[in-house]
Symmetry: C2
C-alpha cells in the first residue's frame, strides 16, 4: 500500500519472534505478540511481522538473522530460563557469531539467593549473554533479559516479559506514532466495498482496513483508519461514516486513538 | 532436537500464515493460530511455524512461496472478503504464477442473494480463485474458501475459519498424532533443571519441555512430554514425577492427551 511506503523514511519497525513449541502445539495461547504490538505502537515503533517458531536451533538462528537485517528492532520471547530446552541465548550468540559469556551483574544477582550447588549451576545458565550484549532490566526482580545490537531477548512468561518491556520504555529509538480512527456498522462488507475503495483512493496517506465480525447473530464490519495526520484521519472518518449512512445503517462505536 | 528429527520421515507438517494489519497493530488478538494448531494436531498434522504478516502483496507472495516449499501444508487466514484490502486471493494466484478466475459454483452461490449491481460486483470479488484451485466448503453458508496445491486459504473471522477447517477434516493427509503427558509443580525451574536434563538424555524419542508460569503469587513450572509412543511417555512421566518429589514438591494436574 502506498500508505506504508510513504512512511518508510521515518518509520521505526520491529519484528517479534515468539519462540516456543507450546505455542505451536496449541497448548498455550500466545498473548505476548499483542502486548508487544500495542506497547511498541504507543512508542512509535511499528510491529511489521511476527513469527512463531519452535525451540530448534536450526530454525531460531536463521530467523534471528533474517529479522535483524529486515527490521529496526527484533524482540524475542521465550526460551531464556535455566532448563535444557532454553536455548534462545545460545541461538542469539550463534546468530551473531560471538560466544556466550557470564555477565557478572546477573551472576551476582543470582548468587544472592542461596541454593545447593546443583541448583545454582542450573540458575547460572541464565547469567550467560552474548559477548558484546547489554542487559534488559527485569522489574520483577528476577534475572534480566539482554540485548545485542538491535535484538532484544525477553522472557516468555507474560508478566515477566511485560516488566522487561516496560524497562525499555526510554531506551529505544522512536518514530512517528501511527494514529487511528475506527467506526463499526452492522453491514455486510460488500454493501460498502465500493464506497470504501473510492475513499481509500482519495486518501492515499491513510490506510483503510475493513474487518468483518460476527456478533449477536449479525455480521458487521469494523472500519479502521491508520495514519500520521489527525486532521486527515478525521476527514476520512467523516467520509466513512457518510458511506455507512448512505448504505442505510448507523455508524457505531467511533474510536480515536 | 533428536526427537523432532526422528519423526521427520513420517511427520506431516504445516505452516500458518495469519494475514492482517489488525493483528500486527495489536488491535485484534489472534486466536486462529491456536485453534488451527490444536485441530490439526488431533489430525496428525503438526504446525511447525506461524507467521503474522501485513496486507501487503510484497510480503504475502514470498511468504506463501517460502512456506509451501518448506511444509506439507500451508493455511492462511484473513483477507478473502469483498473489500479493497482483501488481497489474499490475488497474492496466492501471483505466488503460483496463475490468473484468478471466476469459479462458477461460488458465483452461483453469491447470486442467490439478490443485491444491487454495485454490491453484487463487490461480492463477486469473492468468487475469484486461482486457476487450478479447488474449493474449501464453508459450513456457515457463506462463500467458500479455496485451495491450490498444498495452500489452503481460509477466512479471518474465527467462526467462519473454524467452519472451513472443520470441512477439511477428512480431506488432508495425516501423519502420526503426537501424544502428550504433562504435570505441574510449584517449583522454580532451576530446582529440577538438572534432573530434567538427565531425563531428556535418557528419553531421546520424547520431547520434554519446561514452561514456567506465575499463578496465585507463586512461580511454578509445567513439564510437557510429547512423543508418539504412549508407554514411553508414561515411563517418562513417572521419572518426571519422581524428580518433582525428590525436589520436595508434589506433582499436580497430571494430564494425558
Amino acid at each position: 500500500m502506498d500508505f506504508e511506503l510513504s512512511m518508510e523514511s521515518t518509520a521505526v519497525t520491529a519484528c517479534v519472534l515468539v519462540i516456543g513449541n507450546e505455542i505451536l502445539s496449541g497448548r498455550t495461547q500466545d498473548t505476548n505478540l499483542n502486548h508487544i504490538a500495542l506497547t511498541l505502537g504507543t512508542w512509535g515503533i511499528q510491529v511489521r511481522e511476527a513469527r512463531v517458531i519452535p525451540d530448534l536451533e536450526d530454525v531460531i538462528v536463521p530467523a534471528i538473522n533474517a529479522a535483524r537485517e529486515a527490521f529496526d528492532y527484533v524482540f524475542t520471547t521465550g526460551g531464556i530460563g535455566p532448563t535444557h530446552d532454553d536455548i534462545t541465548a545460545d541461538c542469539v550468540a550463534k546468530a551473531f557469531g560471538v560466544p556466550l559469556v557470564v555477565n557478572p551483574e546477573i551472576a551476582a544477582l543470582i548468587r544472592r539467593r542461596p541454593a545447593s550447588e546443583d541448583i545454582m549451576a542450573a540458575r547460572m545458565r541464565m547469567a550467560r549473554i552474548p559477548e558484546g550484549g547489554g542487559l534488559v532490566d527485569n522489574l520483577t526482580g528476577g534475572p534480566p533479559g539482554f540485548y545485542i545490537d538491535n535484538v532484544y531477548v525477553l522472557a516468555g512468561i507474560p508478566s515477566v516479559m511485560q516488566a522487561m518491556l516496560l524497562g525499555l520504555e526510554n531506551k529505544l529509538r522512536r518514530g512517528p506514532v501511527v494514529k487511528s480512527r475506527s467506526v463499526t456498522a452492522f453491514l455486510g462488507e460488500s454493501q460498502i466495498a465500493n464506497a470504501l475503495a473510492d475513499i481509500q483512493a482519495r486518501f492515499t496517506d491513510v490506510d483503510l482496513g475493513s474487518y468483518p465480525f460476527f456478533k449477536k447473530d449479525r455480521y458487521g464490519t469494523s472500519l479502521v483508519m491508520r495514519g500520521m495526520d489527525a486532521s486527515r484521519l478525521d476527514e476520512m472518518l467523516e467520509a466513512v461514516k457518510a458511506a455507512i449512512v448512505e448504505a442505510g445503517e448507523t455508524p457505531q462505536d467511533v474510536q480515536r486513538d
